[in-house]
Symmetry: C2
């Protein structure tokens, strides 16, 4: 029974990877760098994007694909940025999928202005487990970890922390009011992903947002370097 | 394709419900009231349990089943309470399941001291989507929503907020330091689940913890009332 289940899961992930490669081909054709941005619910992904994309990003035209179980709250929030934002809901025919998969992203490709952007940020569904298991055709994966969630999350959700090449430690402004130990959080991140890039931010005060913008710009320029 | 997928999901949920009923029968046989406790990662479930179960609960013997992808951090934390705590990990053979299902709980029944408890609190994996879709044989479902997650979570994860008969709004001590509007959060809870019981708490200061203890005791006594 158990072996059968693993088999089914592997098949599903194989099928997902095939579609992810097709997405990747389409993004390559349009020369678009894609970031899969993940976190637990309410860690501050949208507020960080509002902050980081509020001003033009070194000539890079950015679009956002918003993944949510239901509604368009985050897409509406980002509408004020005057960049293309596309909503993708996962609640079709079920209680709602807890992650984006390659096929869902594929279904949204027709709605994305692929000719008008250089970078696509995909804001995944808030969840620390399944989003890390499904590639969608991205160049890079990043996650936001709010310090309000406690120091132990890297140890409890290791796949997510291991899957990312950037971990944004957010809501630093709340540190004086929490019993959380940020050094211990960073240590726990080291335990599961020793070489990962970390940026400490407060979306509220703007701390660390320039560093995040630099990282995004560098990610987009990586593609240029590869092509040159 | 879409219809096939829904069919598969329905079959999986049917199978889950069958096992959940078997769990329910076992709990009934031992006269145990079961609470399925859910939340996003880091909302404060464990700290609330530490607070609420730190002193005996009106003669009710409580046990805890800790669901985590990996590790036993929360179970270790609760060990100091001198109540039976059993760890259940979901990471077998995959990146880790994002929720407990009836079969996982069933697999842990042999490790639970069913003869020695009147109430079992099952602390589910931190996730606002899938845990709400899988019954495990519980009498009641409750969730913890931290105000740090923002006001919009009921609208973004409606199934979770609708599935519960108690919503604990936690981390109230942080209110002065956040831009969150608790009235708006409560309004959004009303939108998706108008009659749900709400308890406002701070696991840090202890605010609302007595009300939570009263609710737990009442839940356990419901069974006595039904039996009488």
């Amino acid at each position: 029974m158990h072996r059968t289940k693993v088999r089914v899961v592997e098949d599903a992930l194989d099928a997902n990877n095939t579609i992810a490669r097709a997405n990747r081909d389409d993004f390559d054709r349009h020369d678009i760098t894609v970031l899969n941005l993940m976190s637990a619910p309410g860690a501050g992904k949208t507020t960080l994007l509002e902050r980081a994309l509020g001003e033009p990003l070194a000539g890079i035209r950015v679009g956002v694909l918003e993944g949510d179980v239901q509604g368009s709250i985050d897409a509406d929030r980002l509408a004020g940025l005057h960049i293309p934002v596309t909503q993708l809901n996962t609640d079709n025919g079920f209680g709602g999928e807890c992650h984006l998969d390659a096929n869902m992203v594929r279904s949204a490709l027709g709605d994305l202005p692929l000719h008008e952007i250089d970078m696509l940020v995909i804001e995944n569904v808030g969840n620390l487990v399944c989003p890390a298991e499904f590639r969608v055709g991205e160049d890079a994966r990043a996650m936001v970890c709010s310090i309000t969630e406690g120091e132990d999350k890297p140890l409890k959700y290791p796949l997510m922390f291991r899957a990312c090449e950037l971990i944004v430690v957010n809501k630093l402004d709340l540190l004086p009011h929490l019993e959380v130990d940020v050094d211990k959080l960073l240590y726990n991140i080291d335990v599961v992903n020793p070489d990962v890039k970390r940026i400490l931010t407060s979306a509220k005060t703007g701390e660390g947002v320039d560093e995040l913008r630099d990282w995004l710009a560098e990610l987009a320029h990586r593609r240029v370097a590869v092509r040159a």
